[in-house]
Symmetry: C2
Subunit: 235 residues, 2 copies
């Protein structure tokens, strides 16, 4: 194994795949947790059960234990997630609330559980919130709820006696829109200079994984991009 | 049917049972949705499926439609919920996060769906948040996440185009501790003068159901009790 080890939850998604390659190129040992394997990762943990959270927990926790075999992780990044819209009158209200919860919250909670068991003292846990969920989200109720839950979770994880290893940092990044191929495809006429690049996110996460310039544990770090420059606003 | 109609989601719980009796005594027609029937209610809708949210939705929505048979509701109160503790190292982390989500969020979202279909224009929808979830909740991560999600949901429901009937009000009450028999049993040495009585909550909800002194839609209404006097702090 390389000297530094990272687990990327959602390592087959747009941001996750980018991070797998990025950290691998920096000579980190990289594990990916996702529905599908990422062939670039050194190890893959497959998410199989998507109907019972406690069953999924058993599978993932067992597989992570076997994969790590007593080694500790320097960092855990959870970039799993998705998006769906809908207000209270949407015929898919419950279906989408359910999906958003599974994609953003099941993953975040399992990443924290893995951190409580396998992250080094002084290690780094990153979850993914959303800047728009700092206000009401009438047109995307399920998405807003799941992201608000992640924000609340991070605030708790950053407090004393949260169950994370000593001196570790837990925070969430709150992007507005990430510059991914899918977002370019579905919002082809948007102003891309207000989108945050995956490279910028990766550089930040590398710094924080190395223990450099970390915001306080429990922070919500908004990533606000204007004229292709990204500012961090910590709240 | 009496002239005014109310649906109480969680009508067999401590607060829910109190509300069923209270509104019935004021001559309202009262329906209860809960796992067990409340014999005092004029109509009962049983929650059966607790493993699939979309299946539960079908059952509840169909049963409510049959029960109302075209009549509209003046108010929907959702007081379903529960409490469980646990930090990130708790062996029951996922189990309790799952339970809290089902108890507080499945119920809140279904109450809002019922509101979108069956609440009168100008009607009233109340959900139940928690004052402690306005800050980090390290020792009760699942509870905090579920309640933060409810807060986010209410903010969205109070905004324009949320899918609720015209001129209706959606808000959440955020109690600290309610003065229930179970809370007296499990926290026997607490200062009861800082607990909020069920009668006080019922009087407030009656006013708001009647359209009197309603805070703005989307409000989070903290109920803070000191020396047996309860103050509302709207945020």
């Amino acid at each position: 194994m390389a000297s530094q080890k990272i687990l990327i939850y959602g390592g087959k998604g747009a941001l996750g795949s980018f991070l797998v390659n990025f950290f691998k190129a920096k000579n980190w040992w990289v594990a990916s947790v996702d529905l599908a394997p990422n062939e670039e990762a050194h190890a893959n943990i497959a998410i199989k059960n998507t109907t019972s959270w406690t069953e999924q927990e058993k599978e993932i926790v067992t597989a992570v234990e076997e994969t790590l075999n007593g080694e500790k992780l320097d960092a855990i990044l959870c970039v799993a997630g998705g998006w769906a819209g809908g207000n209270a009158a949407s015929k898919d209200l419950v279906k989408n609330c359910d999906l958003m919860w599974k994609q953003s919250v099941w993953s975040s909670v399992l990443a924290a559980e893995i951190a409580s068991k396998h992250l080094k003292d002084g290690g780094f846990l990153q979850l993914t919130g959303a800047q728009p969920a700092l206000q009401g989200t009438a047109g995307m109720l399920g998405y807003g709820m799941a992201k608000a839950a992640v924000h609340q979770f991070v605030k708790g994880l950053g407090a004393e006696n949260s169950g994370l290893p000593a001196n570790s940092t837990a925070l969430a990044i709150l992007p507005v829109t990430l510059d991914t191929p899918n977002n370019r495809k579905f919002m082809a006429n948007a102003d891309f200079t207000s989108w945050t690049t995956l490279e910028h996110v990766a550089e930040l996460l590398l710094q924080w994984s190395l223990g450099q310039n970390r915001p306080a544990s429990g922070s919500l770090v908004q990533l606000v991009t204007k004229d292709s420059k990204t500012e961090q606003i910590v709240c």
